[in-house]
């Protein structure tokens, strides 16, 4: 061993494949003591896979890993935790039915003589949360808190677990800007104490703001590692996709001119809609050929609103009408028949992985191509058309969906609604967790739909998404509409301020 202390974490020649498909190819990655290491890359570039290997979730991989110079090979999260590696996962992972305190100490409740020390746990949780500027009762039920707060508590768990290496996989996606600032302060504190942090995010500004070093992944390969001070966003995007992206970059930074179409007929009219504690008194209208953006912080009721529009949740009050016809959807099927289509946040929850492509595309139009009996030949013809027009690879309709790449799966998901275009398309977080390239594809498709005269509602917690897609923007705050931007220029700052 050399004089210089070995780095806390060092990976050499890591390769990992899932069923013959390479997710990581020969990756070398080094994390230094007391650094915040940003990680960026397209969807499916392999960032989470690498982190999961480090955190012990994938025991099967090729290559070597060393902690402080000692070779290790984790086969379960337990082993990784024991070695001082803590990870906050991309998806919220808390136990909603347990108390806040237990969630802070999840899996490592303090014990005294083998007996769980409840008092120590409560006191410790209160102390830890206070240091994060969070003021909640440690005895409160986790599930009763707002999503952003839960995310912060999960962060607190990993930060205070004593982990020397902290991995944060898209920790800010559920946080409001002030919460992000608070998080960054804490991260700087952690860095000051000599611990190391891996920070994954698609918000390139955030990455540049907090990181000391940035590593770029593409297609399972590590493309570059640079000091954050020496690079800018354009440089990052270039490396991530290998192409320029003027329009998107524009929407990331500059202001957008909004325009509205006052003459087109109203296709969706919502009056005084309310559902439980999620939102109340929401009134909206969407015209044909218009994209209405709805922006708000995580937990402001956006997700619930989207689901209510599509009949997945039941409204307690208010009315909805589609093309002038009043609608009170009690099921998604009813909403669908009335002409509303919905694309949820996660791809996973809208596709059938073990079924062929054509069945995935035809599922929502089966009723139109045959009342009672199926007509597979028609289904396949339709699917072939979409496969061609969206240039889906491989171009066969019999392929099982699960074997398509992420981007192609996304196209299949959208193709579902292209055969008989609905009157209104509701997109919830259409770009959540998406890389810049994929985001541009979505923008292109949505603009195409708008040209066809569809009314589109885009609900998102990402200002860039709303700004790049919408013709008109309303802002939601704590379940109510608080502001509308129409017919004039709006910038990201204005949007954030309104929320």
């Amino acid at each position: 061993m050399t004089e210089e202390a070995a780095p806390p974490l060092e990976l050499r020649g890591i390769s990992k494949s899932f069923g013959g498909v390479a997710a990581l190819r020969d990756v070398d990655f080094v994390l230094r003591r007391g650094e915040i290491h940003g990680l960026v890359g397209e969807n499916g570039a392999g960032k989470s896979t690498l982190m999961k290997i480090i955190a012990g979730l994938h025991g099967q991989y090729d290559g070597r890993m060393a902690i402080d110079g000692r070779p290790v090979h984790f086969r379960s999260p337990r082993e990784a935790l024991a070695a001082g590696i803590g990870m906050v996962h991309q998806e919220l992972s808390v136990v909603p039915d347990l108390s806040v305190a237990e969630n802070v100490y999840l899996g490592q409740q303090p014990t005294k003589g083998g007996i769980v020390d409840w008092r120590a746990m409560m006191d410790g949780a209160r102390r830890h949360l206070a240091s994060l500027g969070i003021d909640v009762d440690p005895g409160a039920r986790m599930g009763s808190l707002a999503i952003g707060l839960q995310q912060l508590i999960e962060l607190a768990r990993v930060l205070f677990s004593g982990a020397r290496i902290v991995i944060l996989d898209e920790p800010t996606s559920a946080l409001s800007p002030p919460e992000v600032q608070r998080l960054f302060e804490v991260l700087r504190g952690v860095r000051a104490s000599g611990r190391s942090i891996v920070f994954i995010s698609h918000f390139l500004d955030d990455v540049l703001a907090i990181s000391d070093t940035v590593t770029i992944f593409r297609n399972g390969r590590l493309i570059a590692t640079e000091a954050a001070g020496t690079i800018d966003k354009g440089w990052l995007i270039q490396r991530m996709i290998g192409r320029g992206h003027e329009e998107l970059e524009g929407s990331y930074t500059g202001a957008i001119a909004l325009y509205s179409k006052p003459d087109a007929p109203v296709v969706l009219d919502v009056r005084g809609l309310a559902a439980g504690r999620a939102f109340a008194d929401v009134s909206l209208d969407v015209r044909a050929g218009e994209v209405l953006g709805i922006y708000g912080y995580m937990g402001c009721g956006l997700i619930e609103l989207a689901r209510t529009l599509f009949g997945k949740l039941r409204a307690d009050a208010g009315t909805m009408s589609i093309g002038g016809k009043v609608l009170r959807p009690r099921s998604t099927a009813e909403a669908c028949r009335a002409g509303i289509a919905f694309v949820p946040e996660s791809r996973r929850s809208m596709l059938f992985h073990t079924e062929p492509v054509y069945k995935n595309m035809s599922i929502s139009v089966l009723g139109r191509i045959g009342r009672l009996l199926l007509r597979p030949s028609v289904e396949k013809d339709i699917a072939r058309r979409h496969v061609q027009s969206l240039s889906i690879r491989p171009p066969t309709v019999e392929t099982l969906l699960g074997s398509l790449s992420g981007g192609n799966q996304q196209k299949v998901a959208l193709a579902k609604w292209l055969t008989w275009p609905p009157k209104v398309l509701v997109l919830s977080e259409p770009t959540r967790g998406m890389d810049v390239g994929a985001k541009e594809d979505v923008v292109r498709i949505v603009k195409g739909l708008r040209e066809q005269g569809m009314g589109v509602v885009v609900l998102s917690t990402e200002p860039e998404t709303v700004l790049s897609l919408a013709d008109r923007i309303v802002v939601m705050k704590k379940g109510r509409i608080v502001h509308e931007f129409a017919g004039r220029t709006v910038s990201k700052d204005q949007l954030l301020e309104a929320a």
């Binding site: 069923g19 599509f310 997945k312 289509a341 809208m350 079924e355 599922i363 929502s364 009342r371």
Partner: protein
């Protein structure tokens, strides 16, 4: 190439149980002199017919990744109900309500439809997990049966039921024909109708089906009701076949019907399998139960053997699922 791989992988789910069937048949042919006869083949077919009708409904339910533990109880209730509404001979000490045969059949079917509806409501509207909702229905069904038959035994059923359950057409038991018709209908519905496609989709990814505008609750409710109706028909014909209606008569069919579906290779996790699998499963169980009677074997060992074979089938079922997913 892809198509070929897909084809082979799809077949795997049927190859494993089919091989089991062949092995069993070969084993019994070699060890027993009386097993391999046309007469005995007819026996086997008759013996799996009632299970078969129940298994059709259960296949729908399991394809949706749900379970129905009340099939046997509902079969019992319906069988008892149809006898309850039929004029019984004088020596049958039952306070029954004789109606014309047609009315008795309709009433019994409405009864099992209602029980299915209660199951469906509990599962889809209230949100009770199916295994426990139908466990409660098992108890409720037993309660209703007990109230109707009050510990007595009824013998008479309407002529139509009697014909279908115990009659023969051209030497073939009608029961076998009815079971074949149910299996065929189930297969056609699952393969060639929109509803059938929805069943697979709901079983494959419930959330995705819902976001695609499929009325998932309706589909789930429908399969639960279909299961109750199949069980009801099986119960009615079973009463005719066995010649009497009494408490707990069909209890053993619960495990048999589940075993048939699962042993046949329909995935417990939904979305994969079908009536073809169920038919193989029925034959495996039929051959096994029948064959064990043909060879000299400790009677007390039979129960254990059935349990072990069920377990083996479960392991294969789950294993095949894993191979598919990792492939």
């Amino acid at each position: 190439m892809t198509a070929m791989r897909v084809f082979l992988r799809n077949q795997m789910r049927i190859i494993a149980p089919f091989a089991t069937l062949i092995v069993l048949v070969a084993f019994f042919c070699l060890t027993s002199g009386s097993f391999a006869s046309l007469d005995n083949a007819a026996n086997i077919l008759t013996q799996i017919s009632v299970t078969g009708i129940i298994a059709v409904g259960l296949t729908f339910v399991i394809l949706c990744a749900e379970i129905d533990l009340s099939v046997a109880a509902i079969a019992n209730v319906t069988g008892i109900a149809v006898a309850y509404f039929t004029l019984q001979e004088g020596y049958v000490n039952i306070a029954n309500v004789p109606l014309p045969g047609f009315a008795a059949i309709i009433l019994a079917l409405i009864g099992c439809f209602m029980l299915g509806l209660v199951n469906a409501a509990g599962i889809t509207l209230i949100g009770i997990p199916s295994f426990i909702m139908t466990l409660a229905m098992m108890q409720i069904g037993a309660g209703i049966s007990a109230l109707l038959v009050r510990g007595q035994i009824a013998y008479a059923v309407p002529d139509l039921v009697s014909l279908l359950g115990a009659g023969r057409v051209a030497g073939i038991p009608c029961l076998v024909l009815v079971a074949a018709a149910f299996l065929l209908a189930g297969h056609l519905v699952l393969t060639y109708t929109r509803f059938g496609r929805y069943v697979y989709m709901v079983g494959g990814n419930r959330e995705a089906a819902e976001y695609a505008g499929v009325n998932v609750k309706l589909v789930l409710g429908a399969v639960i009701v279909i299961s109750a109706m199949c069980s009801g028909v099986a119960g009615m014909l079973g009463v005719a076949h066995f010649g009497s209606a009494q408490q707990n008569e069909f209890d053993g069919y619960l495990l048999d019907a589940i075993a048939a579906v699962v042993v046949g290779g329909t995935s417990l996790f939904g979305g994969r399998g079908g009536i073809g699998n169920t038919i193989i499963g029925l034959l495996i169980l039929g051959v096994l139960n029948n064959g064990l009677d043909h060879i000299q074997i400790d009677s007390f060992l039979k129960i254990l053997i059935r349990g072990l074979i069920l377990l083996a089938a479960l392991i294969i079922n789950v294993y095949v699922q894993k191979v598919r997913e990792s492939a």
